[in-house]
């Protein structure tokens, strides 16, 4: 039977952290490129966050949750690196190939292609780390530069240069895809 303190802590945690579940899951999907690995990572992230909630001192909880998720994902990267077959077995492995090397688009679909959410998600997924996480935190999770710096434990100047690099890479990939489908 949990004590009153535990219940109060759980309730505070629920109110503060659960509203950001979609944000945390979104980052996990982009980092891990696999739905079920992302689910596991998010669950682990919330377990760890609850455990360390006493040491959380604000102000914004999002960067703190993202920092925990990054640790979980890094452990997952390490696990994958030790079991190369695990990566090859994932259905997402084919996506390692940049999609702008495929050629299926007809000229009529060109405009649509450039705005299709699935295609853009894949372009973002193929960005190299650490540029991808900075890009996703800014453009999709909507964090300020300071919050990103807090989440990734790097100076704001690093955030700025990584973001510039990420956007340049994304635009290059995007342009290459459009030209290829032309």
């Amino acid at each position: 039977m949990p004590g009153t303190d535990d219940l109060q802590k759980a309730q505070r945690f629920r109110e503060a952290a659960l509203p950001h579940l979609d944000d945390v899951y979104t980052l996990a999907r982009y980092l891990l490129r696999d739905a079920s690995d992302a689910e596991d990572a998010v669950q682990e992230c919330y377990l760890r966050a609850l455990k360390h909630f006493d040491s959380y001192r604000g102000p914004a909880i999002k960067p703190w949750l993202f920092a925990i998720l990054r640790n979980v994902c890094n452990a997952e990267y390490a696990r994958r690196a030790h079991r190369p077959s695990a990566i090859e077995d994932t259905p997402g492995a084919a996506e390692q190939t940049p999609i702008w090397q495929e050629s299926e688009a007809s000229p009529e679909t060109e405009v649509l292609r450039s705005r299709d959410a699935g295609a853009i998600r894949k372009l973002i997924e193929t960005l190299a780390e650490p540029f991808k996480e900075t890009f996703v935190l800014r453009e999709i999770n909507n964090l300020s530069y300071r919050e990103i710096a807090e989440a990734i434990g790097a100076p704001v100047g690093t955030v700025m240069s990584r973001l510039a690099r990420a956007r340049a890479m994304l635009r290059a990939a995007w342009t290459a895809e459009e030209e290829h489908s032309r």
Binding site: G58, R146, E150
Partner: protein, 255 residues
């Protein structure tokens, strides 16, 4: 400013992260440098397309319930008055922490920006299926009492159907780690979320519109409350919403 510097700083300009002085410097460089101007235009266009595209994922309901189940369980309860107060206390700790936190001199102080970003996130969350309203009613006399006891100060709920904004309900939301009331309106098929929070300051703050992630947000302060109206309707229509809301509030007070 060199082109190398501009190629990095133009992103901070794009993200509205520069203070006024540095923003002017970057704009000055762009005005005189066709290469950087082209890069800026291309990046702005890409950001526009990205903003118009739904790139977020929604956590599966099964994941949410697994996490819920892993928390120490009491009876599910609404946020207590104490937890709301604790939320306010957490908010006031923000400035103290900002002072000790990461400081980059080129960036402006942005508590407002961060809260705006949370308001827009809350708006986005509300647009997902089943998240828009906790209480569904076009009747202000149903929506207003629903907030009582859930928040220290219930937000004002006014039916603006006659003025072209249909009341559809209310919701409890979270901004800056505190519980906050959201009153939901619709303009045609567009959702307008009106977030209301208590403030210690009773001063009048005139409405101001900012844009983030493609949404317009108009915020103002009145009668000891802070308001944020967020929607994808145009800035002029949102201003109209705020004007009509304030006019109706004044009529209520006087009548």
């Amino acid at each position: 400013m060199t082109c190398d510097e501009a190629r990095i700083l133009l992103h901070a300009l794009l993200d509205n992260e520069l203070d006024a002085g540095h923003a002017r410097e970057v704009e000055g460089h762009i005005a005189g440098c066709p290469d950087c101007a082209a890069e800026f235009a291309a990046q702005r266009e890409m950001q526009r397309v990205l903003t118009d595209t739904n790139l977020r994922y929604t956590a599966p309901a099964s994941l949410r319930s697994r996490i819920e189940a892993s928390l120490p369980q009491a009876q599910r309860q609404q946020p207590s008055r104490r937890s709301v107060l604790r939320g306010f206390a957490m908010g006031s700790a923000v400035s103290a922490l900002a002072a000790t936190g990461i400081v980059a001199l080129v960036l402006r102080q942005d508590d407002q920006q961060r809260i705006l970003s949370e308001v827009v996130s809350a708006h986005l969350r509300s647009l997902q299926a089943g998240h828009l309203t906790d209480v569904v009613s076009t009747d202000q006399h149903t929506v207003k009492p629903w907030f009582n006891g859930k928040l220290d100060v219930a937000p004002p709920v006014i039916d603006l159907t006659a003025q072209g904004f249909t009341l559809v309900g209310g919701r409890l939301d979270y901004i800056d780690a505190r519980a906050i009331g959201a009153v939901v309106y619709k303009r045609r098929q567009h959702v307008v979320n009106l977030f209301v929070s208590q403030t210690s300051s009773s001063e009048h703050r005139p409405p101001k519109t900012q844009t983030m992630q493609g949404f317009n947000c108009r915020r103002w302060g009145e009668r000891g409350l802070n308001f944020w109206a967020v929607s994808d309707i145009g800035a002029d229509e949102l201003a109209e919403f705020v004007d009509k809301f304030e006019a109706a509030m004044k009529a209520n007070v006087e009548g």
